[in-house]
Symmetry: C2
Subunit: 74 residues, 2 copies
């Protein structure tokens, strides 16, 4: 796997953690008050997401923010 940048890592980890919770993009969007299409574009690495929205997503998933950024499973 090629080296992923932070945006791509966050995207992949977000999707993995969302699916692990059995949530759709719409479920997650509703939980954190963001739009479904926004969550989709974040999961595709298209958005230069801000730290406040990263925190909202991590809190809605009940996952520490650093876990959504790490390249290796801890």
């Amino acid at each position: 796997m090629p080296q992923l940048n932070a945006r791509q890592l966050f995207a992949a980890n977000l999707k993995e953690q969302r699916l692990a919770k059995g949530l759709s993009q719409e479920d997650l969007a509703d939980l954190c008050g963001l739009h479904r299409t926004y969550v989709g574009s974040v999961e595709r690495g298209e958005r230069n997401i801000s730290i406040d929205n990263m925190e909202r997503l991590s809190q809605s998933l009940d996952v520490p923010l650093e876990k959504l950024i790490k390249s290796q499973k801890s």
Copy 2:
């Protein structure tokens, strides 16, 4: 210490890591192509910084991004 939000944690960790490298805000700003006043405002938690700029700062400091977000020293 009260619970810090992600922005405040990033701000505190960024300042700590910058000082550990013996860099001024201006040095760090020059290293990553950002403005000195921007770096200062990030370190005060005033900015809703984006993931791309977080990555630029972490790379300029040669510190993994997750280390700038963690609440506990690993």
